[in-house]
Symmetry: D3
Subunit: 304 residues, 6 copies
């Protein structure tokens, strides 16, 4: 069985830490490099529910997309939820390793997995990495549909393909407009609106869009389009977690392949815990809305 | 009829510009101080649809909550949507005046209007203004319900009371938990989580919450509560626009009262344009979700 | 007739905005890209007097050297003089376009026009642009005189050649020293003293020199020269406006040539308004100076 | 005879160093605190000509208004003019002491001396020092004329009263307007335009005004005055050195008084060297201006 | 038995975290607030040797003076020595709590313990805390000797009283000078030279003095003293660890007293591990120095 | 005889100022470039004792390794020790020139002289200068011993070879471990621990190591070595002055060679003043340490 340091070296080859953003904090958060690794759990968020799953599973290593500590800490005392995570992991000999923006920019990366889940054909990165002569690495992906469909159809496809969440999917745009090209960006994508505009796509699918960036992007696109509504990209906003979850399956498969190659005999798992914080959604499209929201704490269609 | 400068002096008395945040940009964006004012339109966002409404209405002054330029610009060329807004307003002799964080902190302020729309009894500000000896000004409001109700019930009330939007309302928490106290904050409220925790309320209703702040607030509250779920405040997240729209009605009423007092004979109007950027929502709670999203470009229950 | 956007594209080709200094604010300040352009007025300063001239002239576009807003603004309210400028321009459908440090560094640029007005032969830039393989672009110009003359003679030439201003010209140096080479820099030139020293010229002609930079440059040059006064460059300081005005004629001629080439049939004009703020000068060379200063509000020799 | 340290203690009592601006560099630049002081020379600028005068005079202490080093240096090598000043002073046992913005803000200060030279009656500071309960200290001074006069008359008075310089005096304003109140500020005064506006004076007399601040102040005042030209303050701009020279006489008199009180028997001197860098001025009010500029290297009316 | 949170509350009352320097990182580094505490170990440095001692001792809490993480970290992976410390502590259920500059400033504080070890009479803090009306808290301490002695005698006293270290003690000053007053500062004291000078003491005893601060302090004091050598404070520099170790005994005694008061029945221990990094010293006072340095890995007189 | 400027040009060729660190302040501090130079004194520190030696010697130029002013000053008043140094030097026509980090990085540089004094064979720089294709310039040096010896033996060699100081030498490491390779860095070397680790040497000899860097470097190396103590580099810490003094002899020899080449007939001298601030050392290895420290103000073995 491989040592933790060997497994991590393999993960770092997939997602080189040096390709993360300057402000990011990727790499190993806790764990002993000499410990043996048999079971690895992949998840989006290093939160208590996921850590408890790792403990129950008997995992030796937890690999998450989101950092536990994005900014430096001087304490891991168990009085904070993050310190409690550290205590639980160390007490149970579980390492924690993070691949965040280095996984976003990788080939394949987070947005490739997202495009794959949506059955889109990737034609290249949305923001190409200048250091990649092959032109495949970078943030986001530009994709094509095999057959054009309406925005309503594309939204239905996304709702069906992404793991279920209580918050669902928000859409901005004419439901009848034709969609041929899509830019996708797993996670918060509001910093890439300029790149989306330059890409000239029909739809931008991402997460966590707030009022002001979304409103300004729409208004600016309308001003440029000067009446040609087809030139204004529609927006599709899904749960942050849901847009990144497909990467955990992709990453697990990548490690499986490495394990086979080295004869490591690793057992890899993908967490199905829905760590999107929202647990219910209520429509607000008529004034007298007496029906209570549908609680969705146990989502049947969550990633299986 | 009053000059624009007289009307603005009255608005500045309601929402003194000096009480805005340092980073904010409030006050008059365009217009001639000597122009006469007969009609005033109130709205949340200074976007094209609202400006067109002002033109059709023959308004002389448009008062919005959101700044047109939050950061300084060196151009108002009509090639940008904001420059087009300036051109249209100046060509039609319409002034634009902004009351943003100065209206948030006022008494009554944006969150008072929000609490009023929800039929909540305000007991004080969430973040009191240290310069207000009366203890009424500040960001957000802490409220009490006349009768306790479940989180499901409270959510239904919010969905019914707030102006309709396509995106609806997101909820995090046990639908059956009892709600007695609520913190509300119109607009983006993710910077006030520490204050919410200190206030010890049952629910926090605000807008534009993103994955990381919402997730961390929930996890941290759970770590502190140590199993006592009732001590973890639920989150209710509505459309940014919908949480601030009630203020436009409140503000128009305040100016009506001033107009009567001075004999100005002003005509005030409240824009009913839904400037939330999202136009449809799709549930994503089962994997095979074939139904297309419901387009909601024309919302019957929008603010009347 | 061309659209504003076509004319501006032609101007941007002459003075590419990307070559302006980082801190500068060049480009279109107001106006509609789709408006037709028949008349263009060139001037140094976008001040009220110039704007009124544009209105009277029926101009569609005003091109100035100085930005209206060098730092960003969040308001163009007509209560400020700059906001009033914006209102007047938009109400009269006049665009405003600025070419500032991009025009300074161009070939030909502001200092070429200045050298031309003084009948000097340009040998190259004072601060060459490292990106110009031809070695012609950059700040300031180094020039040669066809025939050596005294500093007194050179000053007289400058006084005669530059457009008349009330403030006149200040000189530092021995009036009898010989002048063979001159560095010129239109506008405020006190940041280029090190370059002037390296150039080894006899005279530096620029504008807006203040006590400390001028005094330190003179003292430092004297310390280096160690008695060889000829090695200390003389200074000639003219009105800021006067050193930049020749560029407006040069720029108008450049646009005329473009207009002819495209068959645009543009009418170009050069403003003769003296926007130097000083309107009179009083000698102060004897204690009892009873004569009042000569008011020069109407200068006969102003640029025709 | 007093030690240098005793004389400097007396000067520091007149102009406490702690009242200088944060960015300023006042106090003793070189000299031995234990050296005896017999002769003290006062001047505006610590330049070579003044230092040579101190050497010839046999001075033990030179007191200047301008710092030798405003920003810190790591070298006083004699290859720079400032290092040469240090070498000359130390070789001749002459101390150098600077009173800059602490003298500006003092009571009496630099602008009191300027007002006195102009025979104006000071009514208070232009920017009062908040720490002075008497309301007399601060930057600039607001003054009244005993009898109203025209701007032309006031300019003639300034030209006659200030020490002669080649550059003379620049004026912006209607020569016939009436002058009753004047703000004065010795040295560069372009940062005080807002205070001048608030003071509502008829004229602002200062030095070193550049094109942009002067132009903007004039334009802004005109926009506010809305046609009432009398409400636009005129500007009078003299040589920087000339506006500060009167302070050297005032300061010498202050030290004389102290010397008498202590029986120190000091000899105080005031430098008459004209350290304004400009040595000639040429009018530029007609195009054909053949006359050479008048060299003014030896100015008969220089401070006697 | 008390919970860790109760013991820490008691320690925080002794050394309130809010009194630490802004840049410091004090408080609990790891551990579970609900764990029971029976044994507490006090030490200067949270290094491996000390952590191993805590494990062998069966301690539940380790209290150190130095922070484990002074700057924030995003990883506690066991591949670093600090991460290994965290892993070992958490695996053995040992909490780590730090009292650093809050202990320095306390009453009694680190320098009180140092003065006590040296048998000096404290008269007050070297840098008084402005928020302490009693004038007892602050950095460093000013002390008096009961009987004057020579610097040589004082040095011998320090060498005998402080815990033994291989590096010994460095002295700067005349061995025969009389010592009546002493400033002491446990740990690195080179930022307090100005305060030492103002205190006018005969000796400054601290640690970790480097060449430049020590040299400059000596030179500056000599320049001020002008030959009066008695006015130049001598310097005594001991091992950083040795100057802070006395605090661990003092702190343990304080916790014992609290334990007795609450009936907690705690067992407190003081680490005797010499964590000064230096293990040998070689004299260098003659050129031919053939004798090898004396290894002092096992120091007989180390704190017992 | 050469002018100061000629001698300095030669020194600048040895140690180009452009190769100093950004934060450093090298070059000429005072002196007249035209003065003739006959005698040059080399020393480590520009302190009073050294300056007095230069005066007594009749030196025309003092060359030191340490800057007088590392940060900029606005005063050289003789009330400070540094200002007194400037006054003394200028009064006696002695120039001061500094070669600091430019001498550190040179070939040969400060650490070459240190290695030479220790009879070590240099194999290359510890931190190579990326701009030196020959790979010889840079900070520190990596060295080999001709014959392996124990750490105790190496320490004895260092104690014998370096100029004598009262503080002696501190050692961290097993005295019996074998030493084959050594990294040396004259002056404070605590910023180079990472480079030392990468170099994999047996010993790091430098100066001015403080508790925290030394302790962390040792702990981190132990954590990496995982029991293999031979992989943990030992530390040898000598007096800052002693590690840099050998450079003064090397530099004087370099200038002698240049003087011979040019026929300048310079007399060069090396200061033997021990400017290490420490004058005595007391062992602290047993509790009852009654013997007074040995005063070493006159060190027989000081550099002769």
């Amino acid at each position: 069985m491989p040592a933790q340091s060997e497994v991590i070296a393999a993960l770092d080859a997939l997602w080189p830490p040096g390709r993360a953003e300057q402000w990011d904090a990727v790499g190993t958060v806790c764990g002993d490099p000499d410990a043996e690794v048999r079971r690895v759990l992949f998840a989006v968020d290093p939160v208590r529910e996921v850590v408890d799953e790792a403990v129950e599973l008997g995992a030796d290593l937890l690999v998450t997309h989101h950092p536990l500590y994005l900014r430096g800490t001087t304490t891991v005392a168990a009085s904070t939820f993050k310190g409690r995570v550290v205590h639980t992991l160390i007490k149970h000999d579980i390492g924690l390793h993070v691949a965040h923006t280095n996984a976003d920019r990788a080939d394949p990366g987070v947005s490739d997995a997202l495009a794959g889940a949506l059955d889109l054909r990737v034609t290249g990165p949305l923001v190409p990495d200048p250091d990649d002569p092959a032109g495949r690495r970078g943030l986001g992906r530009i994709c094509e549909l095999d057959e054009p469909e309406t925005l309503a159809g594309f939204t239905a496809r996304a709702a069906a393909a992404l793991p279920a969440t209580a918050q669902g999917i928000r859409v901005a745009g004419d439901p009848g407009r034709t969609v041929r090209t899509v830019a996708v960006c797993g996670g918060s994508g509001d910093s890439l609106f300029d790149d989306v505009r330059r890409a000239g796509v029909d739809v931008y699918l991402t997460a966590d869009l707030r009022h002001h960036p979304a409103s300004e992007a729409r208004e600016q696109a309308r001003a440029r389009a000067a009446g040609a509504d087809a030139a204004v990209p529609a927006l599709v906003d899904a749960a942050h977690w849901a847009t990144e979850w497909p990467w955990t399956e992709q990453a697990a498969a990548q490690l499986d392949e490495i394990s086979d190659r080295h004869g490591w005999n690793l057992r890899t798992h993908v967490s199905r815990a829905v760590t999107d914080p929202w647990t219910a959604h209520a429509a607000s499209d008529t004034r007298p809305a007496d029906a209570p929201p549908t609680p969705i704490t146990d989502i049947p269609g969550a990633p299986n």
